[in-house]
């Protein structure tokens, strides 16, 4: 079984305190601050703060979706995993070839139109109006909060490591400085600032990924790189790499189907100005993701080949793959761009998390208990600060606890929201009881099984993951309970929501 830490950045990076790298990083942070300041002037209402005034174009949507999807893992942990697991690591990103079009068919249109009809701003909002259920909204908001704190903590820890490596600040200060920078533009400009910094950050990520991929091919020796690996470690290029087939397929299942319910990504559908522009969304997003993920495959493979060829010493830790490769085989300016790209990937993801967590506290949980906060903009900003401080403290509790908190974030989103959201918005036979049962089961099973596993009360056999089991069970419960309660009061759908589902 893959250790939890393998998927997360928790160990220190090599020191990067070189004038060019520091200079580019400072320049990057200044640009982010300027974009944030510009976006802040355009943020006047809660709608601006949480859904960018529902006024963004297709290109910003594409780049923001890509940036929010990819955290620092795509640049550091991913290539490291590729280095150690071979092709098996690719099963985390392989589903991207299908998931963007799948999410366009399953979610994009219906969510965007539902947002148009009812003025929705959050994912739990969509569950409330679909199932006429404040309870479904509240439960989904609780799941989001739990997952976000862990997810944000792991990302802040990774950002702290990057800042420490570049500026030599020490990890603790790195975490707080990183959090402070993101908080600066997120509190002031909300998701509006996030979207437009994402455009810059996403472009930087894509550009640096392509350039590094070309250097990886050159340094590794093209086809010679593949042959040297096949000669020395043929398992690396086995279809499942060094994973058992079921473990690799479990990745594909959880990261593929689970992509339909990542709230920090799918809530961006609300923000598109013209829903008819969705026509080109799958193509642009798929290409942007593929291009940006070239580094994942290229650096992991090239580093493996270079170690085999004796050009590099075996890595002390898999996470050293990207920094070691960049510092040895690419111009320092490109290294600097990539390290800023890593920070960009992390910051764009954290900003999205801040936004959905603040919305859960300001909007969803009060609504689920029949209350409305009057000044959602002000309280959105206050809760953004509160959530960020909690996450930063959790990040400082470095080690396996942080890794544990982060690892179930994706699985928790998937098991609590895939059935009710992806199936519920498209199937009129789904019922309120089915939605509540599946969200509750996903929440409880993920938390309990992950916690028991973390406490070593039990361990799952190779190939079986808690997130996979929880998602499958949650789907099964949703379908079974909806079938068992069909025709009851929980089957009712408002006329306008029904019209959206028929469109």
């Amino acid at each position: 079984m893959i250790p939890v830490n393998a998927l997360l950045q928790t160990a220190a990076l090599p020191t990067l305190t070189q004038p060019v790298i520091v200079g580019v990083a400072v320049g990057y942070f200044v640009i982010v601050a300027l974009i944030g300041a510009w976006a802040t002037r355009r943020t006047r209402t809660a709608k601006d703060f949480f859904v960018a005034g529902k006024g963004i174009g297709l290109i910003p949507l594409t780049l923001a979706t890509m940036s929010a999807t990819l955290s620092g893992f795509a640049f550091i942990g991913g290539p490291g995993l590729m280095y150690s697991l071979g092709l098996g690591a690719m099963f985390i990103i392989l589903p991207a070839a299908i998931t963007n079009t799948m999410s366009a068919w399953v979610l994009a249109k219906r969510m965007r139109l539902l947002g148009e009809v009812r003025g929705l701003i959050t994912i739990p909002d969509a569950l409330r109006v679909r199932f006429r259920s404040p309870a479904a909204q509240g439960l989904a908001a609780v799941a989001i909060l739990i997952a976000v704190v862990g997810y944000m903590a792991t990302n802040l820890l990774a950002l702290g490591l990057v800042i420490d490596a570049i500026f030599g600040t020490g990890l603790g200060w790195g975490i707080w400085i990183g959090m402070g920078i993101i908080l600066g533009y997120s509190v002031a400009g909300g998701i509006m600032a996030g979207i437009y910094t994402d455009v810059f950050q996403g472009s930087l990520m894509a550009l640096s990924s392509v350039l590094v991929f070309m250097y990886a091919l050159k340094a590794g020796g093209g086809a010679g790189m593949i042959r040297s690996i096949l000669d020395s470690d043929p398992e690396f290029f086995a279809p499942w790499g060094k994973l058992p087939p079921l473990a690799a397929l479990s990745f594909f299942f959880v990261f593929g189907i689970g992509s339909l319910a990542q709230p920090h990504v799918v809530h961006k559908f609300y923000m598109l100005r013209d829903p008819r522009r969705l026509k080109w969304y799958p193509m642009l997003t798929s290409v942007a993701l593929m291009v940006t993920l070239l580094l994942f495959f290229g650096v992991g493979t090239a580093t493996k080949a270079l170690v085999i060829q004796g050009e590099l010493a075996p890595l002390a830790r898999p996470d050293d793959a990207t920094p070691t490769f960049l510092l040895r085989f690419t111009p320092v300016l490109l290294s600097a761009l990539v390290f800023s790209g890593v920070a960009a990937a992390i910051m764009s993801t954290v900003n999205s998390f801040m936004s959905i967590a603040a919305a859960a506290l300001t909007h969803d949980i009060p609504m689920s208990i029949g209350r409305r906060i009057k000044d959602e903009l002000k309280w959105g900003r206050i809760f953004t600060v509160v959530i960020s401080i909690i996450a930063a403290f959790v990040a400082q509790a470095s080690g396996t606890l942080v890794a544990f908190l982060g690892i179930f974030g994706w699985g928790l989103f998937a098991s609590t929201m895939v059935p009710a959201l992806a199936i519920g918005l498209n199937w009129k036979g789904a019922t309120r009881e089915g939605a509540i049962a599946s969200i509750s089961l996903g929440l409880v099973s993920t938390l309990v099984l992950e916690t028991l596993g973390y406490m070593r009360v039990f361990s799952l056999p190779t190939g079986v993951t808690v997130s996979g089991i929880s998602l499958a069970l949650s789907l099964m419960v949703f379908l079974a309970v909806s079938w068992a309660t069909r025709g009851g009061r929980g089957s009712a759908i408002d006329a306008d929501v029904s019209m959206v589902m028929d469109t």
Binding site: M90, T101, V117, I257, K279, P282, S286, V500
Partner: protein
């Protein structure tokens, strides 16, 4: 209605296959190829069922979208099955396909890349007719205006 019902049946079958794949590991004590094949079938069926559920409107037939969904099912089933069943034993002398040994090429190019050249194009080509037309949008805007009016006059849902 029939197509939606088929998609839901597909989801039930797919979920059962995935649960069975995990259950087999517990029963047999280790992951086997039979479990992996069940998982492959479950993933392929679930992906296609979800796409069908989302893409087809109530009362519509699959039409041209059937090609897209058959394609996805075939790519996943054939690709993963070949990866499972083709003999191992790649080495430095293995003939490479676009720079990768054949089984790796099937996974990377076949499953990880080929759908990018097909699915988004089909989505874009059928968008007007099957996803969202100008008329659809007009109806939605009218419903939005009606809802806003209800809210303004104190009505609530």
């Amino acid at each position: 209605m029939m197509t939606k019902r088929l998609a839901i049946s597909g989801l039930v079958i797919a979920t059962t296959a995935i649960v069975a794949a995990y259950a087999l590991v517990f029963i047999q004590g280790a992951a086997t190829n039979a479990g992996a094949m069940l998982m492959v079938f479950g993933i392929a069926t679930m992906a296609v069922s979800l796409m069908t559920l989302g893409a087809v409107r109530t009362g519509e037939k699959l039409g041209v979208l059937a090609f897209a969904f058959v394609f996805v099912f075939a790519v996943l089933m054939i690709g993963f099955t070949l990866a499972l069943l083709l003999p191992a034993g790649d080495n430095a002398a293995t003939r490479l396909f676009l720079g990768l040994p054949p089984r790796a090429a099937i996974v990377v190019y076949g499953i990880g890349l080929l759908p990018v050249f097909v699915l988004p194009l089909i989505y874009a080509a059928t968008f007007e007719e099957r996803t969202l037309s100008e008329q659809d949008l007009e109806r939605i805007k009218a419903a939005a205006a009606a809802h806003a009016e209800t809210q303004k006059t104190g009505g609530d849902r």
